[in-house]
């Protein structure tokens, strides 16, 4: 396969603080003064050139190449430069240095519904939005029924979109974009729209687009979606490519990036409503941050004595791939005092394989509202203990659960 996108040493500089600082007359005064060889009346004291302190390199020497037909996941934390890179690729802004070569038509979808006009009907907006995204009218006419069908808005197609519910609005917007047929498609976090069922439908649509052999560059914070769609990942950190490899490796590296172990959680505020006061992960013999795979791990949830009966404590344990390894709650406890403020969850040896984990905690009344949902309440690592570690390499065991969980005879 030949290359579809080549990014060569692309850098992008933003000047901090100098944008729109001036009025026209100030600029004219400065020029006049400089022309007469006088000091610029508007320069700051001590300012020589527009100094390095004011420069911010959002991208710093990015290099990669994407072959035609590849589906790439672009991953990175906030401020890593993902959006800037997409803006350069989609020609919204120019690079400061470097060069980008593209082969084939490009469509970019950085936001759903760009250019929708609230007074126009759904029908009119499909055409407007489609042409903004680069489609010809004839092409839209040909795909019109498919778009309406996908968006599920047949009844309202002649209603102004300002009367649409927000769900209908994003469905229509995504439907238009999903029916673009460029050779290269650049997508930024657009799956975070609509309800779960529609998100699934979007993901399915994207998979089928990818299956048609188009080149796709996909940005999302949803690792599940990235993993499902992409074959290769590029990880950005502080404007640089730090990883370019298989999607699994890249996601693991990204999650490792954000990993800071925390084996206890302490409430910062103590309102009267039900909340977690303290969550701790402990193990015998005492360990911090890294726990042994061969010993039980005890997670203790303490809630405030609020007087509400039948509160349920739940947990989700996610591994470094973002997979939910465990999802459980104290409803499974054999017996429980309805006013209990302490729940204890015992994670047996080898229930979790070696690796890094995040634990989310949920406090709710059964079948009712959730009082508190702590994402990444705890973060910890599981490792082989002395004897096992000496015998084997942790990396050789790839299961989500530890190898010792199974019984062999």
């Amino acid at each position: 396969m030949s290359a579809a996108i080549r990014v060569e040493n692309v850098s992008k500089r933003y000047r901090l603080g100098v944008i729109n600082r001036r009025m026209l007359y100030q600029d004219l005064q400065s020029r006049w003064a400089r022309w007469r060889g006088q000091e610029d009346p508007h320069s700051k004291v001590g300012e020589k050139l527009r100094g390095n302190g004011e420069n911010f390199w959002a991208l710093d020497g990015i290099n990669f190449e994407i072959r035609a037909g590849e589906v790439i996941g672009l991953i990175g934390g906030n401020g890593a430069g993902k959006s800037t890179l997409l803006k350069i690729l989609s020609r919204i802004t120019s690079p400061t240095k470097g060069r980008v070569c593209l082969k084939g038509s490009v469509a970019s979808l950085l936001e759903v519904g760009t250019g929708f006009h609230p007074e126009l009907t759904g029908h009119e907006n499909i055409f407007l939005n489609g042409t903004i995204l680069g489609m010809r009218q004839s092409e839209i006419r040909r795909k019109f029924d498919q778009i309406v069908d996908f968006a599920e808005v047949e009844q309202f197609i002649d209603t102004p979109v300002k009367r649409y519910s927000s769900g209908m609005y994003v469905r229509l917007a995504f439907a238009v974009a999903a029916h673009l047929s460029p050779e290269i498609l650049i997508i930024d976090e657009v799956l975070a729209v609509g309800d779960a069922r529609f998100q699934e439908k979007c993901l399915g649509k994207m998979e089928s687009i990818a299956g048609e052999g188009r080149t796709i560059l996909f940005v999302s914070h949803n690792m599940g979606a990235i993993r499902a769609l992409c074959s290769r990942g590029i990880l950005l950190r502080e404007g640089r490519v730090v990883m370019d490899g298989s999607i699994d490796e890249t996601i693991t590296a990204y999650i490792g990036d954000n990993f800071a172990s925390a084996s206890s959680y302490e409430a910062k505020e103590r309102p009267a409503s039900p909340h977690f006061e303290r969550i701790t992960a402990t193990q015998e013999p005492a360990a911090q941050g890294t726990f042994s795979i061969g010993q039980p791990l005890v997670v203790t949830f303490e809630t405030n004595p609020c007087g509400k009966k039948d509160l349920t404590v739940g947990l989700v344990i996610r591994n470094s791939q973002g997979v939910w390894v465990q999802h459980s709650s104290d409803e499974f406890a054999a017996a429980k005092d309805p006013l209990a403020t302490v729940s204890r969850c015992i994670i047996p040896p080898h229930a979790l394989g070696p690796g890094k984990y995040h634990l989310d905690a949920l406090l709710a009344k059964r079948n009712e509202e959730a009082y508190e949902h702590l994402v990444n309440a705890l973060s910890f690592e599981i490792a082989f203990d002395g004897a096992m570690a000496a015998r084997t390499h942790a990396a050789d065991w790839k299961g989500a659960c530890g190898p010792g969980l199974l019984l062999w005879e």
């Binding site: 026209l24 070569c101 407007l128």
Partner: protein, 291 residues
């Protein structure tokens, strides 16, 4: 393919269909892209036209009311009170002709001058040749002009039937040329202003009264014949003067205009248009960083 490679590029870049580089020449306007997006021009025209008048009480009637009321005010203020001559043309007809023409130019200028600031959100999210927007504005205004022009024709026929001394003649055929000149001038100045307002916000304030002042520097509320002959040359440097005078000469049979004035006006319009487009094009590529 329209985008040229940097001259120092050692390798052959022709296998790529697009090459994005930091620099772009001042004169590198992407006409080809613009042509590919011609459907978008149509869609924007439609959006602006339909979007503006949906859900207004009077709908397209606004197109008539605006020149009508302006004409009435001008007739009272400049005709009755200030008693400025209208070259024997009935004052309402004289002012209406000026207002209809001026309005087209002023609309083109003012609406294109906000292109970058008003569309910052779209420009930050999707690429299309930015010139599509001002061009579609000029076309949208053409529809408005057509409606207002029909009002003018109606009033003209009314006065003619009353026996007023107005003499429409074959020179009316020049109207399309006059429109193109006004569109070019409005588009050029509008593009220039909109490019500059991305850096200098205070300019957008100046546009409103700038247009107002320009109107008084054009022969909207007075005929050129009222100006002392030794000063007329100064006034005809403003292309709007020969345009409006030519319009009145063709439709009303009164006005002072010479071919060389129109030709010079056309030259100015073309220069302004080129300057505007080049500046606009230059700002377009880094605009989303500065706004």
């Amino acid at each position: 393919m329209n985008d040229t490679a940097t001259p120092d590029a050692p390798e052959d870049l022709s296998q790529w269909s697009k090459v994005i580089t930091p620099q772009r020449g001042w004169l590198d306007v992407r006409w080809r892209d613009l042509w590919q997006y011609r459907d978008l021009i149509y869609m924007f025209v439609r959006r602006d036209f339909v979007g503006t008048y949906k859900q207004t009480v009077l709908g397209p009637l606004w197109f008539f009311l605006q020149p009508l009321f302006t004409t009435i005010v001008f007739t009272i203020v400049f005709g009755r009170i200030a008693k400025i001559s209208t070259d024997s043309v009935p004052p309402p007809l004289f002012y209406l002709s000026g207002v209809v023409m001026w309005q087209y130019f002023a609309d083109c200028l003012q609406k294109t001058s906000t292109t970058f600031t008003a569309n910052a959100d779209i420009f930050g999210k999707v690429y299309f040749p930015r010139l599509v927007l001002p061009i579609s504005t000029v076309i949208t205004n053409l529809i408005t002009f057509a409606i207002q022009f029909s009002l003018f024709l109606g009033v003209l026929v009314f006065f003619k039937l009353q026996g007023a001394p107005v003499f429409p003649n074959f020179r009316m055929a020049i109207l399309p040329l006059l429109l193109v000149m006004m569109a070019a001038l409005g588009l050029g100045v509008g593009c220039l202003v909109s490019a500059l307002t991305t850096r200098y916000r205070d300019l957008s304030v100046a546009v409103g009264f700038g247009v107002q002042l320009w109107m008084y520097g054009s022969t909207v509320v007075y005929p050129l014949s009222e100006i002392a002959p030794e000063w007329r040359w100064l006034l005809v440097l403003n292309p709007m003067v020969p345009i409006i005078e030519a319009f009145r000469f063709a439709f009303l049979g009164s006005g002072v205009v010479e071919i060389w004035q129109l030709a010079m006006g056309a030259g100015v319009c073309v220069l302004v248009l080129l300057g505007g487009i080049i500046t606009f094009n230059h700002v377009e590529k880094t605009f989303s960083d500065t706004i």
